[in-house]
């Protein structure tokens, strides 16, 4: 643990409703879903129909471009709905779970004896391949690529994010197995850790991976930031990233031969009665936790964090890569002369135009109001204060708005995905939709090869 990288720029938001470290039981979920929208740039090809019986691990759809990558059912049961949106775009495949979980059984082999190709085919067949994402662009990795390295972020610094040390408790053996599998894919394996790591963390026991400690505010826990400081991506290079919970799922596949994506997630946010942790299976219906949410006002159910998550609604489903459900109040209210109020003490601002900087330990209840109107870029130097990367964010965004692919490349678009610039969007006084713009730029890059 000798390497400590200090992150100086950034912002740790202190919000009300942090999950208490208690693991509670939930009632049985009514449904689970797999949503193609969770995988950027995926063109799904549906493999099941309504009413089909599936096991945990049965492919529901695959990728038209890379058909060997299969997206499998998280649970066993019956396909109860195929949800489509505009132009018949596939939005979700919903599975109604059976009373007992049955798994597609894969061969359990001694990983150390497997070749890289055999490991890849095990992950593809087992449905575990979509766990691995690539940079640039944050899409599901291409199995035929040879990545420069694989990065795992061992902590989540986003507001109200689950404590990874807590959610991974007791999984040291499966995590180690997952690492063993990943080592077959690349010999460079990095694990980013927080300097505030708990003494009980399983990461102390994990071997065969290079541990790098990060100290500093959010986004220090973002894989993109860690990659930037460990070994930045240059044009033409690829690295892979994977979430610790998915390392464990890979470990289970290698140990037991099953696709088991149960994990511990946090239910957090100011509108949650008792914010805490639950063990669920990926893709769970959000309605399962509705008993724990205040019903007095209108709420927004977010799969993921308030900075990067998706608004899934009370009837939605947890996203594939998300480890938290955050519930915050909707902000569709007017506020009389709010911008002129000298105090406005119930609101938070990272700038010193308000007084909230004087109360660093206060926990804020933020609603979804945009707090202003969208404008052109006016202030400068605002984004730079919360982006701990050697990137010129405004110039990058302007290059995207201009559709200038060469310039986007020169300014380093392959180093960032939406979550890395989320704080820029949060603090932006011009209310510019930074993450939307960045995703458009990334789409443009992918579509132009």
């Amino acid at each position: 643990m000798s390497n400590v990288i200090r992150i100086r720029k950034g912002l740790t938001l202190s919000l009300k409703g942090k999950a208490e470290k208690v693991l509670s039981k939930l009632p049985a979920a009514m449904a689970y879903a797999l949503k193609p929208g969770d995988f950027p740039h995926l063109t799904p090809h549906l493999l099941v129909g309504e009413g089909d019986e599936v096991l945990a691990g049965t492919p529901l759809f695959n990728d038209k471009r890379l058909p060997e990558i299969r997206y499998v059912s998280p649970v066993s049961g019956v396909v109860s709905a195929i949800v489509r949106g505009e132009k018949r775009r596939l939005l979700a495949v919903v599975v109604k779970p059976s009373a007992t979980q049955e798994y597609v059984q894969h061969n359990v082999a001694d990983v150390s004896a497997l070749s890289r190709e055999q490991v890849i085919s095990l992950l593809l067949a087992g449905g575990a391949w979509p766990f691995i994402r690539q940079r640039p662009y944050g899409t599901v990795a291409n199995p035929s690529d040879a990545p420069k390295a694989i990065f795992i972020s061992g902590f989540d610094s986003a507001p109200l994010a689950p404590d990874t040390d807590f959610t991974l408790m007791g999984e040291a053996a499966t995590f180690q197995k997952g690492i063993e599998v990943l080592r077959k894919l690349s010999d460079k394996l990095y694990l980013g850790l927080s300097d505030e790591i708990a003494a009980t963390s399983i990461f102390h026991k994990i071997k065969d991976v290079e541990k790098i400690v990060f100290k500093g505010p959010h986004p220090a826990g973002n894989t993109g930031v860690q990659i930037h400081h460990i070994s930045p991506i240059n044009k033409g290079e690829k690295v892979w990233t994977i979430d610790p919970q998915h390392v464990i799922a890979i470990g289970r596949l290698a140990l037991r031969g099953v696709y088991d994506v149960s994990k511990v997630i946090a239910l957090a946010g100011s509108e949650v009665k008792h914010p805490r942790y639950f063990r669920i299976i990926a893709g769970v219906a959000v309605s399962t936790v509705s008993d724990y949410v205040n019903t007095s006002g209108r709420c927004r159910y977010i799969s993921g964090s308030v900075l990067t998550g998706a608004n899934v609604g009370a009837d939605g489903y947890l996203g594939f890569y998300d480890n938290a459900i955050t519930v915050v109040p909707e902000g569709d209210k007017y506020e009389f002369l709010g911008w002129a109020n000298p105090l406005r003490q119930h609101r938070y601002s990272a700038s010193r135009s308000y007084l909230s900087w004087m109360f660093p330990y206060k926990e804020y209840t933020l609603d979804t109001n945009i707090n202003g109107g969208e404008r052109a870029f006016v202030l400068t130097g605002v984004y730079e204060k919360v982006l701990p990367m050697d990137i010129l964010p405004v110039y990058l965004l302007k290059a995207i708005l201009a559709g200038d692919i060469d310039r986007m490349e020169q300014l380093g678009i392959y180093e960032v995905v939406e979550e890395d610039l989320a704080l820029c969007e949060f603090v932006c006084p011009s209310k510019i939709p930074v993450q939307d713009i960045l995703r458009k730029g990334i789409d443009l890059m992918i579509n132009n090869g």
Partner: protein, 383 residues
């Protein structure tokens, strides 16, 4: 209650409704009274409560000391020049009544054009003019004719801002453009030694010594006639309405820097550029003006006001962090050069800032280019 009225009025201002063509105007007034109920749709779900209205408000607040002192100083200069006995408040009110019409003209003309432009484009009305509308009066001489203020404001907003696409897109600082417009179109109304003290222009029969600004005195070689350093610093001197008191400007600077609205890098490097050039001139001095200690320049004329409120305009300044150092430094250097070596323009700050406004994109271009080169250099290092 106001909310209910707005809610009732809203439908008739929607697109296609009877007053649909006034949608932007309605929206501007509504969002002025109430923070809108818009919620986030994509990206972040919660947002910082800071917005441009707030930012602009902070700048206005920072301008208040300069305005307050300026009003008093107009009364004081008037009383001083004409030998009148006036109390503190009567001086202040005298000045305030002279300044108020200029402020009103600036806001009415400027906001009128902003609203019309937003309406034509179907955009929301931008907040940028809230600050510009206050800056324009503060850099005018007190006796400037009101129609001239109106014309200059219209020029600044239309040619300086709207044709580029509005706030955030302009190249030149609109307030300085307004001043430059008058400077070049009606020079006798914004230079010389008769415009800086209220009442000097009207033939009153009173024989007065002079109403020249310290800069004009210095440029004319009358170094011995310069006011004391204390007078310069506190601002008991003739000059544009808001620029005379370095102290009042400094209070504004503290507010801007504390809230982080303006860039300390630009302010600091402006001063550094001025002082560096000043000391160099002292060393090479061939006339009394060149040997004037450079700290005099910090307090004379519009330097302090310009460095704090004009050079730091984020839209027209350099936008890269490294670029800001160079941009500010060169403003300081150019100000000194114009002041000391150009006899035609005693005040160099306005032209220095406008010139650097023009060069800011070029500075940024080179900063970005070097950033890109640095990124490219990384490749062999990692192989």
């Amino acid at each position: 209650m106001l909310r209910n009225i707005l809610n009732r009025l809203r439908p008739s201002f929607e697109k296609g409704a009877r007053f649909g063509f006034l949608h932007s105007t309605f929206e501007a007034f509504e969002s002025f009274a109430f923070v809108p109920n818009t919620t986030t749709r994509s990206g972040v779900h919660v947002r910082d409560c800071n917005d441009l209205k707030r930012v602009m408000t902070v700048v206005i607040v920072a301008l208040m000391p300069a305005l307050f002192f300026g009003c008093w100083n107009i009364g004081y200069q008037h009383a001083h020049t004409f030998g009148l006995e006036m109390t503190f408040w009567s001086m202040w009110i005298y000045g305030f009544l002279r300044v108020l019409p200029i402020i009103i003209v600036s806001y009415v003309v400027g906001l009128g054009i902003e609203f019309t432009a937003a309406q034509l484009r179907g955009h929301e009305v931008n907040e940028g003019f809230l600050v510009t509308g206050m800056l324009i009066p503060l850099i005018m001489p007190v006796d400037v004719p009101l129609w001239m203020v109106g014309l200059a404001t219209a020029f600044a907003v239309i040619i300086g801002k709207e044709i580029f696409g509005g706030t955030g897109m302009n190249i030149f600082n609109p307030a300085l453009l307004a001043r430059a417009f008058i400077f070049f179109s009606y020079p006798s109304h914004i230079s010389g030694d008769r415009v800086w003290v209220a009442g000097l222009q009207s033939p009153s029969g009173v024989e007065v010594t002079t109403g020249a600004t310290p800069l004009a005195e210095a440029a004319a070689g009358h170094i011995d006639r310069l006011p004391s350093m204390a007078d310069l610093f506190f601002g008991f001197i003739p000059g544009s309405i808001g620029e005379t008191s370095t102290l009042a400007v400094l209070i504004g600077a503290v507010i801007l820097l504390y809230t982080g609205v303006a860039s300390w890098k630009i302010m600091f490097s402006c001063v550094a550029g001025l002082l560096a050039t000043g000391f160099l001139m002292n060393w090479l001095a061939v006339n009394p003006y060149m040997s004037l200690p450079p700290y005099y320049h910090l307090c004379m004329g519009g330097f302090a006001f310009g460095a704090v409120f004009m050079a730091t305009d984020p839209v027209t300044a350099a936008q890269t962090e490294i670029g800001k150092w160079l941009y500010g430094f060169l403003i300081g250097v150019l100000t000194m050069l114009i002041r000391v070596f150009n006899e035609g323009y005693p005040e160099g700050m306005m032209l220095a800032i406008l010139l650097m406004n023009a060069f800011a994109p070029l500075i940024d271009h080179y900063v970005v280019a070097s950033h890109i080169r640095r990124r490219l250099k990384r490749i062999p290092a990692n192989v």
